[in-house]
Amino acid sequence: MLFFMVFFLFYNRIQVALWLRDIAGALNRLKVMRDDARRVALTTINEIGKPKEDVTQRVDRFLEYFEISPVNLDPAGIILKLEHLINVRDERFKDEVKMMAPASDEAQTHNLENLLEATWALNTIYRVVRHFYLFGKKTMSFYIIMQLQMLLPIILQEAEAFSGALNAFANGQPIGDGAGALVAAKLMHNYEKVEVAKDVVMAEVPLDGRKLLVLKAEGPGGNVGRPGDGVKALLDKNEGKVSMVVMIDAALKFEGEKTGEISEGIGAAIGGEGVDRYKIEEVATKYKVPVNALIIKESIQEAISPMKKEIFQAADEAITRIRRILAERTKEGDLVIVAGIGNTIGIAQ
């Protein structure tokens, strides 16, 4: 009986030991993924970029890169600060990649940027988990260790998604996130394209008696462009005389939902830090233009892994939905902006 009493007294300690063991195993997996990502990044840079000197140190420096978010105690004007920060980051990333891989062309530079960002994400996940593991072990804090152990499935799922994306970025394969860009590409293919904002192309496409202004990020390099600037430029140019804006983007599905299912709604369907969404909401409100959204559902892994057949096929279904929306909510001769949002890696126009 004494034995059982001792067991109950130390139950928490035993539980902590078991959790720490689980976390140590997960940390080992994260380390393997991080090391593998670094290896893939170095191999691809050497293959594509033909650097004149060893880039290992430069890649390792990049993996430790950080950015400091703008102060939000006084939120007025924070979007402009955030946009400036994103612009500086994009330029910095591009310069770094150009220095690492001087022989790469524009599309390959974008792909290498994506590859390095995925590697950076895996390195950051590993460092954060290691920090809390060691900190929990050091303080033997029941609550730190418990929370970390409970979050492990989500953390590992995200890390595995980044790990699965590495080859897609290295080889320039379309990824699930490009579903919106694919819809726009299918609509604008064979029509003349012009650049309306940085890394954003637009084509005038006649469809069912309406004139569509279709825009997407410029492919086939891994690029999301600045669709917010694109939509704003088109609305300003047409002085708001646009019947509606239709945005198509990939969105996370709930567990139990089918990949490639399409849902309709309203609002600016676009992810990211919020700068593009803010711009679209601002300009749409200014001209009182309704914004319709189509989302193509997929999981977090599918969003950054090579595009699945179901997602590819969903692009045709999305075009059918757009035609139905046009028929129901616009008249012949109307002007409509269609924005395909997402990473256009492996998708030209």
């Binding site: 009986m1 130390f10 720490l20 080992n28 320039g172 394969q173 595009m307």
Partner: protein, 129 residues
Amino acid sequence: MSKRPLFGVGFLLLIFTVMLILSLTFLYLGYIRYLNETADSMTYLVTGAFGALLATYGIMQMRRKTAYLHLLDYNIVTTTECQKCGFKSLRKFERGDYVFKPADKCPKCNEAMMIASIHSEERSRKGLL
């Protein structure tokens, strides 16, 4: 100062094993006492059963789980299509392929083909760490 966990994995395994042996002994003693119709046989049986359950649960938790990494192996298929006659051809993805890239000439009508789709077919496998 860094604290170490009070119980190591090997020590925990030893505790649970000793606990299981003790519990089984209690169960055996309880059974003998039950046959002899001794009054405290139920105490032995309940303690033994409870301890055996607890120890088995502990050992199950301690089982060394083989660390598997759920690796996804993608088979990427590039489909080229003739714009004129609709002839389709499937092949493995090659670096440099992208959707709408001009491809070889159509073997049927000799028109230029283009890449119409690039998609993955997922094959899940497990890689031992």
